[in-house]
């Protein structure tokens, strides 16, 4: 296959590593997602190899790679590291230029981002040091309740009322869940309560940043319909969830890689 000049974004998150490959016209050629595991550099290399393979491209076709996510500095092929805050804003803007607010809940942190009409970050807030109320929280609760992770949202929506969960601390909430089960509380009610607890936590971040329409939700937790619905109610605005909420950061990184390569080409031609 003939070589196309392309650009890659790699997002090394705490739970999953994502890659997106785009061409010169910013058209996505391929995207993929793998568990991050304990060896971040290897995970990054694997996702990159996989998207290249999917697109029928080879490494030399890649003009620039922008790495993001908490493992961004572990990506061997990176041209540059950019924080996931900037990348999520850029990715969300590319998907829906009308987006002015992004709520991202990943495996170990959550963020609320306000952006301008060009997709630049204006303000942001990020959760505290621990992973309370994030994807990891739901992951642990799913195991405690013996429910599949992707079933949490639909099951929670069947509840007539949420059980009262007072904490988003994974350790405290887990013991609360065990007590609730012992008291005879049903699983849907508990799941509904857990989703609501996440909603309250993200709402305090969101209100500090100030949410303006359109609001997009990114990150793995955006796949949970009960959390999305709860957030819509809490902030009083509809929330858009893209088809692949987990790769928005990697998409933003790929677009930034394209900017970077273009900027370099421009300065090169100016100099020459």
């Amino acid at each position: 296959m003939s070589a196309t000049r392309c650009f890659a974004g790699v997002d090394v998150g705490s739970a999953t590593t994502k890659a997106v490959l785009i061409d010169e016209h910013a058209v996505a050629l391929a995207h993929t997602l793998l568990p991050s595991g304990g060896r971040l550099a290897e995970a990054a290399e694997r996702v990159l190899a996989k998207v290249l393979d999917q697109a029928g491209a080879v490494a030399v076709d890649v003009a620039a790679v922008v790495a993001t996510g908490y493992g961004r500095d572990c990506v061997p092929a990176r041209t540059k590291s950019v924080t996931e805050i900037t990348c999520h804003a850029r990715g969300a803007h590319a998907l829906h230029p009308a987006v002015r607010s992004v709520i991202d809940i990943g495996g170990q942190d959550s963020k609320a981002i306000a952006l301008d009409a060009n997709g630049m970050v204006r303000r942001f807030e990020m959760n505290d040091k621990c992973a309370a109320g994030t994807g990891r929280f739901l992951d642990v609760m799913a195991r405690t309740l013996d429910v599949a992770l992707d079933e949490i949202g639909p099951v929670a929506l069947t509840a007539e009322r949420p059980a009262s969960i007072s904490s988003t601390c994974t350790v405290f909430a887990e013991s609360e869940v065990v007590s609730l089960l012992a008291q005879g509380e049903t699983v849907p009610h508990i799941l509904s309560g857990l989703c609501l607890a996440i909603t309250h936590r993200i709402n305090s971040l969101a209100s500090r940043v100030g949410m303006a329409p359109e609001v997009m939700m990114t990150g793995g937790v955006a796949k949970n319909v009960a959390v999305v619905k709860g957030i819509e109610q809490a902030i009083g605005l509809p929330v858009t969830v893209p088809d692949e909420p987990q790769i928005v950061g990697a998409l933003g990184a790929a677009l930034l890689a394209r900017d970077l390569a273009e900027k370099e080409a421009a300065s090169g031609s100016n100099a020459g």
């Binding site: 942190d109 970050v121 990020m126």
Partner: protein, 381 residues
């Protein structure tokens, strides 16, 4: 004679790495050492009485002794300083000096008095309202009481001795201000971490010695021509204390340049008006009350937001990073207001919560990184 600024800067870093080494050595030579917990403790008085005044710092590590005595919502600075006292790490002190500022330090003072035998605990009361004649009368009276208490053990402190000490401290502050000005004009001259080391060492070394080394450093840096134009965003750091040089280093590692600060243990300690003629105690009381007021005080007419905005504008800062010691509510309440003022003036601000114990966490790196990316995109970089 060639002046070697890197090795001089290294000296200051070493002082910060072993903060009490010099004080301990002085104590072993028979010099009485006073440990000051707060910027409102009048170092000039202790110096005039023959004491070596040094600041008590917080420290990293577990605080099991303090944990038995203070609530979980006390800040890590107070907690770790108290733990150092209880553990006997400060046994070289003759005096521990507290000021009546925040609730936590007031209570730690009482705990210190009961639980740290072997040294005298001295509390310097400060007026809760720092403006006006009544505040001056009150604080002058308090300084006179401290002077008399010191005289009981160290002998009388003459007006001339006090004046001489005030002149030394004024010269030191003026020289520190020159270093701050040099950095504002030429941020490439020294890194934020190096500057913070010079600042922190000034609270730990004998003033005469710090002044000498500082003058030498300024001489070396002033000869050094400014480097290439630095396109990195200019940042002002604000807050109470930043004793962990690693935090300052981590902020700059995100890709910005720290060009100034509005820290209590920083520029606020050096931007003090000159002493008036006449009665030295009057002048000293005036000087302390004219400091940028601690957020634990009430000061009519002072607006913390306007103050921070002015400091940021004077520094030509593109953004402000606010280091908030976790559980420090006086600063936390002021921050919300200051942030609004900065927002209105379109100066981006970032608040970072810091603790003595924690290494630089990943979220800190992402936050500072994203903040610098905002500043870069605004500058079209």
């Amino acid at each position: 004679m060639s002046i070697d600024s890197p090795s001089l800067l290294e000296t200051f870093e070493q002082v910060c790495a072993n903060p009490y080494q010099q004080a301990r050595a002085a104590a072993e030579q028979g010099v009485p050492v006073a440990g000051l917990m707060c910027s409102y403790s009048p170092q000039e008085l202790f110096h005039a009485a023959g004491y070596l005044p040094v600041r008590i710092l917080g420290r990293a590590g577990a605080t099991p002794r303090a944990d038995q005595l203070v609530q979980t919502y006390s800040c890590s600075f107070a907690r770790s300083a108290l733990d150092s006292g209880l553990a006997g790490e400060l046994d070289f002190l003759r005096l521990a000096v507290f000021s009546h500022t925040c609730d936590t330090l007031q209570n730690v003072a009482d705990l210190w008095k009961r639980n740290c035998p072997g040294m005298q605990t001295l509390i310097v009361s400060t007026p809760n309202q720092t403006a006006g004649a009544a505040a001056q009368t009150y604080f002058r009276k308090e300084l006179a009481r401290v002077r008399a208490e010191l005289a009981a053990t160290a002998g009388p402190i003459s007006d001339d001795d006090l004046r001489a000490s005030m002149v030394l401290h004024a010269r030191h502050r003026a020289t520190m201000q020159r270093l701050y000005a040099l950095r504002r004009d030429n941020p490439g001259a020294l890194t934020g971490r190096q500057m913070m080391a010079v600042v922190t060492a000034s609270f730990l070394m004998p003033k005469e010695e710090h002044l000498e080394k500082l003058t030498e450093l300024l001489g070396a840096l002033e000869q050094h021509p400014p480097g290439q134009a630095d396109t990195r965003p200019r940042v002002l750091v604000a807050g109470s204390v930043c004793q962990d040089l690693g935090f300052i280093g981590a902020i700059e590692d995100a890709g910005c340049r720290i060009v100034d600060d509005d820290l209590c243990m920083g520029a606020r300690s050096f931007l003090v008006p000159e002493a008036a003629e006449g009665d030295p105690l009057d002048a000293l009381a005036d000087q302390y009350l004219a400091r940028t007021p601690c957020p634990a005080f009430h000061c009519p007419g002072f607006d913390p937001g306007t103050h921070l905005l002015e400091r940021a504008q004077q520094a030509g800062a593109d953004g402000v990073v606010f280091l908030l010691t976790k559980f420090c509510d006086p600063w936390a309440f002021d921050y919300a207001h200051a942030k609004n003022t900065l927002d209105e003036a379109d100066i981006p601000a970032l608040m970072l919560e810091v603790e003595q114990n924690l290494p630089v966490p990943e979220q800190f790196r992402t936050r500072t990184g994203a903040f610098v990316e905002i500043l870069q995109s605004r500058a079209g970089l």
